[in-house]
């Protein structure tokens, strides 16, 4: 066993892990943050996407020990402490961008990075391409794309405040 120290949603943790422990296993099993889902476990579906130092990454394809010293943001850390939803979450709700909800945490985390890294704006094509690593099996892409397009101006207006 080895020790890994990392910050998750603003809180520092030191955890004992094996070499083979995946970041997603650390989050779900050691820290109880089960909002991050394991869908395919083959790096294709994107249900496990979290941010590592602000960048979207598939946490099922990352060793926990690789994240030593990193700053992790999961779906649980997105809303304000008082429960006010992040604009992306709010737009997913408003545009009915989910059905069963299994892919939603990964979709939201990917979408937040996509919007943050494209302050100049996002075309529908760019949004769809940006989601190519996130699979939804309820065929909900259309409303997900609408939600992300609607969240873009809200997030950048908030960032400018």
């Amino acid at each position: 066993m080895a020790q890994v120290t990392l910050t998750v949603n603003g809180k520092q943790h030191t955890v004992e892990v094996e070499g083979r422990t995946l970041l997603v296993e650390l989050l779900r099993e050691k820290l109880g943050l089960t909002g991050t889902h394991i869908g395919c476990d083959t790096s294709q579906c994107g249900a496990c996407v979290v941010h590592i130092d602000g960048i979207s990454v598939k946490s099922c394809t990352q060793l926990a020990l690789q994240a030593d010293g990193a700053n992790i943001l999961t779906i649980e850390g997105l809303a304000d402490a008082d429960g006010t939803l992040h604009p992306m979450q709010e737009m997913f709700r408003e545009h009915h961008a989910l059905q069963c909800g299994f892919c939603t945490p990964g979709m939201v985390m990917t979408a937040v990075d996509l919007v943050q890294s494209h302050p100049e704006g996002l075309s529908e094509k760019e949004i769809r391409e940006g989601l190519e690593g996130n699979l939804c099996r309820c065929t909900g892409y259309h409303n997900i794309v609408k939600a992300i397009a609607a969240a873009h101006p809200l997030m950048h207006a908030q960032a400018a405040e």
């Binding site: 080895a2 094996e18 070499g19 083979r20 995946l22 476990d41 083959t42 790096s43 294709q44 994107g46 996407v49 960048i55 979207s56 990454v57 598939k58 394809t61 990352q62 060793l63 020990l65 690789q66 030593d68 990917t110 990075d113 996509l114 940006g130 190519e132 690593g133 996130n134």
Partner: protein
Amino acid sequence: MYDFAYQKPGSLADAVKVLSGDMEAKALAGGQTLIPVLKQRLNKPATVVDLSALGLTGITVSGGVITIGAMTRHADIASNADIKAKIPGLAHQASLIGDEAVRHRGTMGGSLANNDPAACYPSALLALGGTIKTDRRTIAADDFFQGMFTTALEQGEIITSIDLPIPEKSAYEKFRNPASRYAIVGVFVAKFANGVRLAITGASQDGVFRHTEMEKALSANFSPDAIAGIVTPADGLNGDIHASSEYRAHLIGVISKRAVAKAA
């Protein structure tokens, strides 16, 4: 996944020492191939050596050559202004690998060292006539790839950077497997003052290769018409549930013409 010891050396010399001294040690770059391989128990290293603390990242331009650190991520290559301006085929190629999250982790050096027969970068390195720099020597692209998942790298040898000559024109065209995003056929074409090089990935059982007949025709006349009559035999090409070897042979002609049209 079988368990293993994890090490993260702080210097290149230390990393080489660990990897050279332990036949069951495996180097970890971005992990976007290695970790899935470990999950499937296709490999059972005793030690995994993380190369991320060796400072092997960055992109520089000097005297007609772009040098890319081995641990530079696909996302950085795809968005780099110098690469977009000087080797647009490479920037485009990097933007087509995997998906956004995979491109945030996967590295050029890791992909080249693995030499997957359907990986994209081997075609760029070979078509550009690039050079691999390691901890101990330099290896020309023409000598580096030695068949499927096989390279000239010795036990414990680590790629540190990749030198790519800047061509007059370049383009990459890829016919993707829609699920895995790997190339069923990928073609990189590069036009230099002294001739054209064209490399094909995804198609051959031996991995990436140069299509010398097309190179000759394109060096005389850099247009899709110059290669329209060239037939590639299906012998030695991959055939699987995604595409037969005959289909891949046909695709080589079609995708090569598209690549040349894009570059010209």
